[in-house]
Symmetry: C2
Subunit: 343 residues, 2 copies
DNA sequence: TTGAAAGCGATACCAG
DNA sequence: CTGGTATCGCTTTCAA
């Protein structure tokens, strides 16, 4: 049965232009391989009928999806925006599309997303954090989809990671606080059970304390989701303790801001009464008062490098290699030595 | 030629299980239509070989991509994160996937994205802002892809918009400032040439001034990109004017924060010396000091409604209808009557 | 409940 | 430079 389907397709155009589908396909993919005259004629038709080829059919028959998937745990933290942007820029140069997916800190959602990415035969996947069901890594490998972990180093060579070192960075920050004379140091971080970056930073904090013979006090630690209000509340509790901390390490800037604002409300002076160090180096940390000391995270470089690695894997079949990118502790005005505490 | 291809496909599985490809496809799509025994056998094979069907082929032959595209102008403003989340949640219930794309305030990028969405035969598209090349709307219509404009109302019935009214909201905020006795009112907003929401808010501001016989002073207006540092600089200039404003309307909260921090740095008291009203009602506005008066934008409801409309369009073939969602001016502590200006 | 076969829309190889 | 055609992997009638 010949249904005179109205759908515009290469076949339809070919008939209309009195050429073969192959020729139409060519003007789409390699126009220079078609005689100018025929090319123009077909281009005219395409223009006239607003023809947009079916990408699914195209990618399907060419065996390349041209797609790279990125899974972030949240899109509301703008540090991931910078990261994403860098990836997108690099990918675009290589003619690859980026599919941004938000796992919302849920491993269930994440595995659904990974499955979807495999279904769409992505040519690469960028993951956030290392900790997840190993079966997922295996699935990716099984489908020969290059992947790379970011925002966390990886203990296994089979799982390449392009990232900075959370432990090293958090260690540096905590040690700085100790170097400034603080012994009673609070910590606010993400929920470690669903966030291995937070867990690593917490671990680093504990290790530094222990190395400095400072007993670990669970009262000084708050694991909170990344809403600024949650850390605001947590910080309020911390500074209202009978023996409040003299310094606070916040494993990300949003939480550091929440803490800072809590102090302002309670008339606790930062840094005179409490030193605060954040993590991420968001633009806002530079303009808030006082400007926040923080750990600069190389989100852009990390994104760029991850994209680069996947491009090489997808196009040149190169293996993805782990890479560690350095962070930098940036001391601004929210920290000071404990000795000068009294004004 | 029979290439013993290693790719796992329904055909391969069918052979392996001694059934037809149709049956394998059925256990994938409607398992209940297959005899339990055969079903289990095939499910076993699928499990064993980690089979993930090729989604492109699937969507391609079933003529439904199951995809809805969302184009936001930036992902670094977390107001879009809330919006996106709401969309995602609603879509998920309907079994549709969301493809998030970042146009980065560029109309060129946006049209490329729209083209890509058409190529992938998205079943719906959610756009941000109304102003764009009409040809794009036409293209979408031509491919019978339902779409909806958000974050801006639409003057045309052919372009449905599910949004709040930027003018009305900005009018309310500006009028409130006037009601508080302010006559010298500054404005910081986005770059109106690439952001029609900002343009509408600026226009509302001008209209209110004019209605109140307050001359428009270009020196009091700053159009800036959404980086907090840019508004920080702009606000610094505004408040350093020979005749500084007594109130400032910021067309979004990020810029309001930039302004607030500028004031703090310059020891200009908010609200005693300067009243500030923001726009968006980000969570941070509730914890900053002073808590920021702002216009609450119904990002979640808007996202939910937009998703809903597209679902109905895609699945039930219902036309997308325009809808206006109300905003709410929330007065907190960054504003006060001008009369009580002197402490 | 199952199977055979006809697409879906483009690509790409191989001739001519 | 152009055309014919097999193919990609799955879904979907239509019969059996």
């Amino acid at each position: 049965m010949k249904k005179p389907d109205k759908n515009i397709t290469v076949r339809w155009l070919a008939r209309k232009a009195n050429v073969s589908v192959a020729t139409v396909s060519r003007v789409l993919r390699q126009p220079e391989a078609v005689a100018p005259q025929t090319r123009e004629r077909i281009l005219g038709l395409i223009e006239k009928h607003q023809f947009v080829p079916d990408g699914r059919a195209a990618t399907f028959s060419s065996r390349r999806s041209g797609l790279v998937g990125l899974i972030v745990p949240t899109i509301s933290n703008s540090i991931y925006a910078e990261f994403t942007e860098a990836i997108q820029n690099r990918l675009q140069e290589a003619g690859l599309d980026l599919l941004i997916a938000n796992a919302n800190y849920s491993s269930e959602i994440e595995s659904v997303i990974i499955r979807r990415l495999i279904e769409s035969r992505a040519e690469g996947v960028i993951l956030t954090g290392y900790k997840r069901d190993p079966a997922l890594y295996q699935l990716l490998r099984h489908y020969k989809i290059p992947f790379v972990v970011t925002w966390s180093t990886s203990p296994k060579r089979t799982v390449p990671a392009i990232s900075f070192d959370n432990r090293a960075a958090a260690t540096e920050a905590t040690e700085m606080l100790i170097k400034l004379g603080h012994r009673r140091i609070g910590l606010i971080c993400g929920v470690t059970s669903i966030n291995d970056r937070a867990a690593q930073r917490l671990q680093a904090y504990r290790d530094v304390l222990s190395r400095n013979k400072i007993p670990f006090d669970p009262d000084l630690v708050a694991e909170r989701p990344f809403e600024i209000e949650a850390s605001n509340v947590a910080a309020t509790r911390l500074v209202s303790l009978a023996k409040p901390p003299t310094a606070l390490f916040c494993a990300n800037d949003i939480q550091a801001l929440g803490a800072l604002f809590a102090c302002q409300r309670l008339k606790i002076r930062v840094p005179q009464d409490l030193s605060i160090i954040g993590f991420d180096d968001l633009p806002i940390t530079r303009v808030v008062n006082p400007p926040l000391s923080t750990v600069h995270v190389p989100a852009r470089r990390m994104g760029y490098a991850a994209a680069e690695a996947l491009i090489n894997a997808a196009r040149k079949n190169l293996p993805v290699r782990s890479e560690t990118i350095s962070t930098e502790l940036i001391m601004r005005e929210s920290t000071r030595p404990i000795r000068s505490r009294t004004p």
